[in-house]
Amino acid sequence: MLAEDREYVERVLTGEPEVFEQLVRKYNRLGGAIAYGVLSDFHLAEDVVQDAFIRAFEALGSLKEPGRFRVWFAGIVKRRAIDVLRQRKTPRMRAVSLESGAGEGRGLGESVASDSRRPGQFPDESQLDAAVHAERRRQVLACIAGLDEDDRIIVSLKHMEGLSYKEIAELMETSVSAVESRLFRVRKVLRKKLAAVLNMDSPGS
């Protein structure tokens, strides 16, 4: 991975800027996981990652170790995302109280009822399934949004990008054991908060 990144960076620097697209293809999900972890908003995260790639391209010559592009780029994304968060000056997404059905506003029934279909027509089974899954995703994301920033980033890197503990530790500049214990703790919290949502799939629930 390091050798491949080094080759890409050096090719960009030596007159093949189109090779930068390989780095975009390879690391946009990683950048997205970090930006989403900071912002809890996919659209803002997408803008941030695009900005970060442009900044990385412009400053590529200052990258001391081309093989470490991934860590360097992750730092650019995180700083840019934090800047955007500060600029917004609005509170982050609130944690959802699943017990009360509040939080983002719409409850499950409301979500299904507002699903796109012609007026007067009952939703069929597939529409109901889709609506249930969409609602569950929304509630899971709302729960993740209620975590601390670093916890959100770790969860995003693990479950959006599928990184190993070691890879997350490298990006977060911490130890593998710290990542591991943090993931254990965070997922325990999420499990508790999401118990009602997760039980939807359980037999008899």
């Binding site: 800027p17 990385a56 999401l194």
Partner: protein, 372 residues
């Protein structure tokens, strides 16, 4: 139901779910899950949570769709074109410049070609031989001077694109600017054989007779960081330092700074032989420097011209370094080296200089404050 010999570790089962165990440990947990009902229920709950978390990101706008959506924005920002905002280049370099198909397709790039060709014509040197790519990074207002004859500097406005790195040039690097010299990138090689970064304020020159295979540069003053690939036998890579000192670089990454007759060397990778060179060109090794040695400084005391052999021979060479951890490896023939240069403008120092502790900090500072 929990088996009597099971400790039902949720952490171990999470590692199993996350595929963070060795094959043997995976097999052990798998067997445990088969035997213990309690472990199995923990595993199923964890698996359900993990799948739910992963599937919650299914609507994320990243992946291949991101690449497609970003093309237009990246294109307008210069990505996929040779000329990028914030990257400023001096002189010709048409070989690399024309390599990009995107460039050929864009009318705007034609204007840049014209500018670069004109700059290349105006500021070409009769001694100049193309050696590699030269990029200038820094703030937009930065300008770089090339000097064919010392004292007769010609101002070159940076133009976007890539250029050749030439023999027989002197580069004045203003404060806040960083020159990135890619040796060997202009002669058809895809990757440069060496990359040098000269941080301003600095003056750096290339010898008129140097080639890619036998490169000879001179750091007259300032800070230089070099990453040099292993050379073939018979090839050399030499960078002079202040006209006084020489280092033979066995490793690949080193930092050199010179000022007022004092030369400091920091090695990030590999091993470097560091010493002085007499008037007859004979190299006298003073020490070998590795990554564990931090910064090593050679200073020469006594009066006279810094470039003269008398001042080198009359004055004792002081070496400041941390104790080496390993005995040095034998010097290989044809490895890289740093030797004395012409054109030193500094005064001879007296005694040893203090080790510049902030050297690495200086180099770690990004050339482009907007970038990284």
């Amino acid at each position: 139901m929990k088996t009597p010999d099971c400790n039902c570790s949720t952490e171990a089962i999470w590692r199993y779910v996350d595929r963070e165990l060795s094959a043997r440990e995976m097999a052990r947990v798998s067997e445990q899950l088969r035997k213990c009902e309690n472990c199995r229920s923990i595993y199923e709950a964890q698996g359900l949570l993990a799948r739910s978390l992963t599937s919650s990101f299914v609507d994320s706008p990243f992946g291949e769709s991101f690449v497609m959506r970003s093309k237009e924005r990246f294109s307008s920002a210069g990505i996929s074109r040779p000329a990028a905002p914030g990257i400023r280049t001096i002189e010709g370099g048409t070989k690399l410049f024309f390599r990009s198909k995107t460039f050929i397709r864009t009318a705007a790039a034609l204007l840049l070609v014209s500018l670069i060709l004109v700059a290349g014509y105006l500021f070409r040197s009769p001694l100049a031989q193309p050696l590699g790519g030269l990029r200038v990074t820094g703030r937009d207002e930065v300008s770089v001077r090339t000097v064919d004859v010392p004292g007769q500097a010609s101002q070159v406005q940076p133009s976007p694109g890539y250029s050749v790195f030439e023999a027989g040039r002197i580069y004045d690097v203003p404060p806040g600017t960083s020159l990135s010299l890619l040796l060997g990138a202009g002669d058809g090689r895809r990757d440069g054989v060496a990359r040098l970064e000269v941080s301003g304020p600095a003056r750096f020159s290339t010898d008129p007779d140097c080639t890619v295979e036998n490169f000879h540069g001179n750091l007259i003053r300032g800070v230089l960081r070099a990453r040099v690939r292993h050379r073939q036998k018979g090839e050399t890579f030499r960078v002079s330092a202040g006209g006084l000192h020489q280092a033979r670089v066995i490793g690949t990454v080193f930092v050199l700074t010179t000022d007022e007759g004092s030369t400091s060397l920091a090695v990030e990778e590999g091993l470097v032989s560091f010493g002085t060179v007499g008037e007859d060109g004979e190299y006298l090794e003073s020490s070998r420097v590795g990554p564990a040695d931090e910064v090593v400084t050679l200073s020469t005391g006594g009066g006279g011209d810094t470039g003269s052999s008398e001042s080198v021979e009359a004055a004792p060479v002081t070496v400041q370094k941390a104790p080496a951890t390993d005995s040095p490896a034998p010097l290989e023939p044809g490895t890289t080296g740093i030797d004395p240069a012409t054109g030193s403008t500094g005064k001879p120092p007296t005694g040893s200089e203090a080790v510049p502790g902030s050297l690495r900090d200086q180099l770690d500072r990004p050339a482009n404050p907007q970038g990284e």
